[in-house]
Amino acid sequence: METKQILDTIQMISEEKLDIRTITMGISLFDCIDSDGEKARQKIYDKLTTSAQDLVKVANQIESEYGIPIVNKRISVTPISMIAAACHDDNYVAYAKTMERAAETLGVDLIGGFSALVQKGYQSGDKKLIASIPQALSETKRVCGSVNVGSTRAGINMDAVKQMGSVVKDLAQIDPVSCMSLVVFANAVEDNPFMAGAFHGVGEADKVINVGISGPGVVKRALEKVQGQSIDTVSETIKKTAFKVTRMGQFVGNVAAKALKVPFGIVDLSLAPTPNEGDSVAEILEEIGLESVGAPGTTAALALLNDAVKKGGVMACEHVGGLSGAFIPVSEDSGMIRAVEHGNLNLEKLEAMTAVCSVGLDMIAVPGNTPAETISGMIADEAAIGVINNKTTAVRVIPATGKKVGEQIDFGGIFGYAPIMPVNTKSPAKFVNRGGRIPAPIHSFKN
């Protein structure tokens, strides 16, 4: 092996902050179903703590032997609305607490799957789960929840859209920071390793290891070397870099899966930023040639980036899955924060950007007095972009209770802080309150 290649790899890790963002073990809970809630929860705790008992140990060992930081170790489980539906409990907060207790025992960072899939309608468990979300997520630290309200095949469940606006508000009333643990999806994927939206899909194996990579810093550094060259060169450079980054994900996933004796599922080819300088998707877009993210041209640059990352990554690993695209969470990206603070990036532009990347309006703080119907309107808009364009979209919005535009809300650590963004104050209440379902879109005449 050439010296340059070794140095190149070491530099990617030590200076350009290349890391494995997460190793997520998906665990099916179908064999834990019981009509007695207490018994079901005991089975869940036992299954989680035995299945994943070596997860953190193995991840730490990989970190030590290969010198690659593995930032998060996580677990995703079958949507609890399906598992708990068989029991007679009135609410499912106790299930969230069981998940929390298991996560604590295992030492994992987050556990996802306090979830419901209601794109076409509610079963009894879905209703109880969604009603339990505010209490469940505010009384736990590591539990993440998600609700899928639409799909390209089913359309958009507007009753769920309406309800989720209120649920987000209710959760924010108790604790706005907890809103970062809740995602509202359209076209949710079953093998996503990233939080807060990870759950273990019903079509998955009993246990599986999924890996989420990172690496905005590596892409930016590579682009610095091709300044002023044509867009073709930009695309090629991103592809080559994504290839290397994905190879690392594939490698780490394989090593982890083998050590844990669990099948390796997928690598999620996402560029996931952190608030650290040099680890920003916004800065990549600026490196491509925008004075600030949010400038006209942002959507096109992001589309190019997103597509090139996928093209580079697809060949580098056996199975691609999850969300696979550039993330644009405002609070977790120093460049996005800067653009919002300087008035260069607004909600409408972010919404446009979500049409060409994963995943949606992510980690966005809005004024505390934003009405529930307005949040439902935002959810409906994002869901429509996903459903019509056959892609995953999501809303993870934080109504900063008691705060207004110009202030900010802190999430701590890799979750960063978010400046509170202005929201269009015209009301969609009558639209949202109609309820019902937006029919599935036609799959021809694509204009």
Binding site: M1, T3, Q5, I6, L7, D8, T9, I10, M12, S64, E65, Y66, G67, I68, K244, R247, M248, Q250, F251
Partner: protein
């Protein structure tokens, strides 16, 4: 050879140039029963940078003990010494 698991790793040493870096590191590796299969040095951002490819029998010497030995030496000599298993580099750089 029976009872042998070959562990291959890349050792990188970065820091201010000083007398005897190569000697100190290679002596430590010899103590740890690590065989050096390749060695090269260069300057990276003005820092002395040395790379060594090493291998040893994991049955007799664990990765952790080699890592600890090198880290201790790094602290003593004010050099940044890191060791990573070689498969990582192969995975990233080779098709």
């Amino acid at each position: 050879m029976k009872g042998t698991i070959v562990m291959k790793a890349v050792v990188t040493v970065v820091g201010h140039d000083q007398v005897g870096i190569v000697a100190k590191v290679s002596q430590k590796l010899a103590e740890l029963k690590v065989n050096i299969t390749d060695i090269s040095q260069t300057l990276m951002h003005g820092d002395f940078t040395m790379m060594l490819m090493g291998e040893w029998n994991e049955k007799t010497t664990t990765f952790d003990s080699v890592k600890k030995g090198l880290e201790d030496l790094g602290k003593k000599t004010n050099l940044d010494i890191r060791i990573q298993r070689q498969e990582l580099f192969d995975a990233i750089q080779k098709l």
